[in-house]
Symmetry: C2
Subunit: 380 residues, 2 copies
């Protein structure tokens, strides 16, 4: 196989973006196999923009058409796992949009199923994982350059969405349509990056506001405290009502500190001596001398890295990597099975806020689903 | 009265600093009335450094000596309220060191007593309130320049203390000696500033680590979530084990945002239109246009202010203001009764962390004291 023939399920905003990438030749190892949308008005759009590409209004028919080697699920989150399973069952490779699903039980299901099809490629669109900046941060952590993590802190409030955004479709920002708000639609990128780089916490406490600044039933404002189980803690803050949003990610280790500003600039401070050694060897007088004048500059080296980003480049990279894995086994940037972690964290944040208390991981999945379904039922 | 004769109770680090300020003429409306310390070895130190100043080893004797018009309590925190009451009862003005006390019940007691002596000056050493930077931030908030507060976030981890600091005295960083760690010794400054500027929360959730990176029984690492009761939330983070500490205070309002970096630089963004108006009037297409290219610069004005600080200047200002209030009724920067708020918050943080759940304000003071006394008893 030289090029993977991709079937795009859902010709909305994301689906069209990917179709255009392929049409424009931005994904050298991919071609448009077919497009599918249940909205038959999209047929005209598809035929105008992608004239030689077959269109289907039923994705199962597309899966059986012989026109596609792989699919991507650009549809409401609830559908990602079942469509992925259906594709894999027809021996078609599956790339899920993020989040992998709305609740962990359904993501668990596709993860288990995918294990029975090891010859197929199962991946997830965590485009931020291709961001050179975050790859560098992960590398620094993985190499132990700043030592063991003591604290993480991400304020990511750049996801501004006006009311008009929510009013675009009745499924948006509802329990039954999306299964949540900022935690399932906007912030999954950072939720995944944070656990990818810093690991999964053992406990989660969340204070969330539902419909705080927008006319929606789901959360538009979230503050979470992570407990990593070894004394290390973390904070994750996100919302959709800060039009001058902050994006500041700080990781404190016992040998240094990383601060990422605006997903563009990384400031790395590497201590000459581990903090505990300093604590155990410096007298109080030496400490006071250290902090006099210009401050403790001499105790660490500072490195500042600046990154540029190209719009769309990340998504294109994930598509290319997915196709490369199918063609020659190139290692996946974002294996599908990784999607469970982000969903687990988002579910834990919801559950903690609903119960008004810290929750343990592994999550009580049944309780989560029960509570989620109550909210879905109230909407109907 | 032209100059207030101050009696300094406790000739340790802080007491000596204040005595030197007065000796050096930095407090024009104050003179050294007397010095008191229960450690009789301090008598020699006192006589060498302040030769004409009477020394007492019992503060009650000093109060009755006729040598002092006012006192300051540079002694372990538990003693501040009782010494303050004793002074006021002898018609002597009282300036308490921060924190006002260890638990709210004892601070309540002096606050009530002080009301019966309205002719006397009762103040507290919240030196940071004289910091021009924080006065400016408070003014901006009070004037409504950034509108109603939606989120506060202070990461204040610049309080690095090596083990040697804690090993200086057996009372340090113990439940019975200080009543806590970073929350009662180092962070009360910022706890007061945060409530002074942003108001008191209605609920508090805290994750605290006890003896996490230091050999102490009390907290050296704290993460707190505030709920202001109207949808607004806040985060407060502090610790004593980050030698490259962060000091970043962010306040989001519905008309703007303030970010204070390193207690030196204030960045104020004032929206041209309130965020809710923007949310209700912009279409999604207009929003996407807004965020293209250089970002939404045109929606706000940015102002950056830089401040310089002079070491010791803040403490000298509080001393001078305290004396001025005694002499001519100049308005107090930090009335003694204000001390209760910081103690309430520190107590709420402890209690929440001990109970593992969010606590409501007003605080359950009896429960707090009961739990604190259990910890004190364990140390004996």
């Amino acid at each position: 196989m030289e090029k993977v023939r991709l079937g795009i399920i859902g010709l909305g905003q994301q689906g069209s973006t990917y179709a255009n990438f392929i049409k424009e030749g931005r994904i050298p190892n991919m071609e448009l196999g077919a497009i599918c949308d249940t909205d038959t008005e999209k047929k005209k759009v598809s035929e105008e923009n992608y004239p030689n590409v077959p269109f289907y209004d039923d994705y199962k028919t597309m899966l059986e058409s012989g026109k596609v080697d792989a699919i991507i699920t650009c549809v409401p989150h609830y559908l990602h796992p079942e469509m992925g399973i259906e594709a894999l069952s027809k021996d078609i490779h599956a790339l899920l949009e993020k989040p992998a699903g709305v609740y962990t039980k359904q993501v668990q299901e596709i993860n288990e199923y995918a294990k029975t099809k090891p010859e197929l490629t199962y991946a997830i669109m965590f485009n931020q994982r291709t961001n050179e900046l975050y790859r560098k941060v992960k590398e620094i952590i993985d190499n132990g350059e700043i030592g063991a993590i003591r604290r993480t802190n991400w304020i990511i409030t750049t996801w501004w969405r006006p009311q008009a955004y929510y009013d675009q479709g009745s499924w948006r920002a509802t329990w039954d349509g999306e299964g949540g708000g900022v935690l399932v639609n906007q912030a999954p990128h950072q939720i995944d990056l944070m656990q990818w780089i810093c690991g999964m916490p053992k406990k989660v406490y969340t204070k969330a506001q539902y419909g705080y600044q927008r006319d929606i039933p789901v959360e538009d404002d979230v503050t979470t405290v992570f407990d990593y189980g070894n004394g290390a803690t973390g904070v994750f803050i996100t919302c959709t009502h800060d039009v001058m949003g902050t994006d500041r990610f700080e990781i404190l280790g016992d040998k240094g500190k990383i601060v990422v500003d605006d997903s563009k600039k990384v400031t790395i401070k590497r201590l000459h001596k581990a903090e505990n050694e300093m604590s155990n060897s410096l007298s109080w007088q030496e400490t006071m001398n250290l902090f006099k004048g210009k401050g403790p500059g001499a105790i660490y080296e500072e490195e500042v890295l600046e990154f540029e980003s190209v719009w769309g480049g990340q998504h294109a990279s994930v598509l290319e990597n997915f196709a490369a894995n199918i063609i020659d086994g190139t290692e996946l940037i974002a294996p599908g099975s990784d999607g469970i972690n982000g969903v687990t964290l988002a579910n834990a944040m919801h559950l903690s806020s609903w119960l008004g208390k810290e929750v343990d991981l592994p999550l009580d999945e049944d309780l989560y689903l029960e509570e989620l379904n109550k909210l879905r039922a109230q909407e109907k």
